[in-house]
Amino acid sequence: MTVANLVFYLIAALAIVAALGVVTVPNVVHAALFLILSLLAVAGFYILLSNEFLAIVQVLIYAGAVATIIIFGLMLTRGTDLPTVSVGGQWPLALLASGAFGGAVAAAVIDSTWPRDVGEVTLVSINDIGAVLFKDWLLPFEIVSVVLLVALIGAIVISTQEEGEA
């Protein structure tokens, strides 16, 4: 077993254990912290896949911005059942459904043939990403920036208190 394999298994175990924490712990703040841990582990996957840029984006946007927004959301929706929530009564069915799905995915992965000899894996430099993104993917990039702008303005409009509202 090489060092890279060992690192992969460590990161995968960390991501999966943290993800299990997100869906099982009763304390919502702990769940949010587990989510941050899982997102950081996924950033480790990107580094193993030679994608430093995506790892940085993952840490900045997911572990930074998205996690902060989610913790704010937890704080602002603090009801009587917080900070602890129980899972609903349907968890055995949920376990069955997700287990069936995971089994199907695993069976499909085992059943397919994947390129065994990857040859050399290209190290993706940020220069190349910028060139590709702004040459070949310019229109999707502009559309997605408009989508982001509209969604965030919409979020402000939706969550702002209206005049005369209780």
């Binding site: 193993l48 840029f53 995506l54 946007i61 997911y62 376990l95 997700s98 995971g102 993706v124 965030l152």
Partner: protein, 108 residues
Amino acid sequence: METAAEQIPLEHFLFAAGVLFSIGVYGVLSRRNAVLILMSVELMLNAVAVNFVAFAVYTDGALFRGLIFAVFVIIIAAAEVGLALGIILRVFRNRATANVDEVSQLKW
């Protein structure tokens, strides 16, 4: 010097992402708090992005299509979190709950 990706088979990434996605599915189906459901959705989006990047690196090295898709997934996830939390705050203000089982006026 081999890069790390050349020593790890593609399947390992696919298995890890599949497990993460299944955990996300379980969270969406079993949790009843809207914010926790949102967190489970984030797990699922992450698993899909890992898959995109893994396929891009192993089969499509020079073109970065999967990488660009992963960037778009992250951007859309950010938009989705902002919008969903706006809606959850609104529901919480009107109904004083973040439990999705108690927000059922549209159910007949």
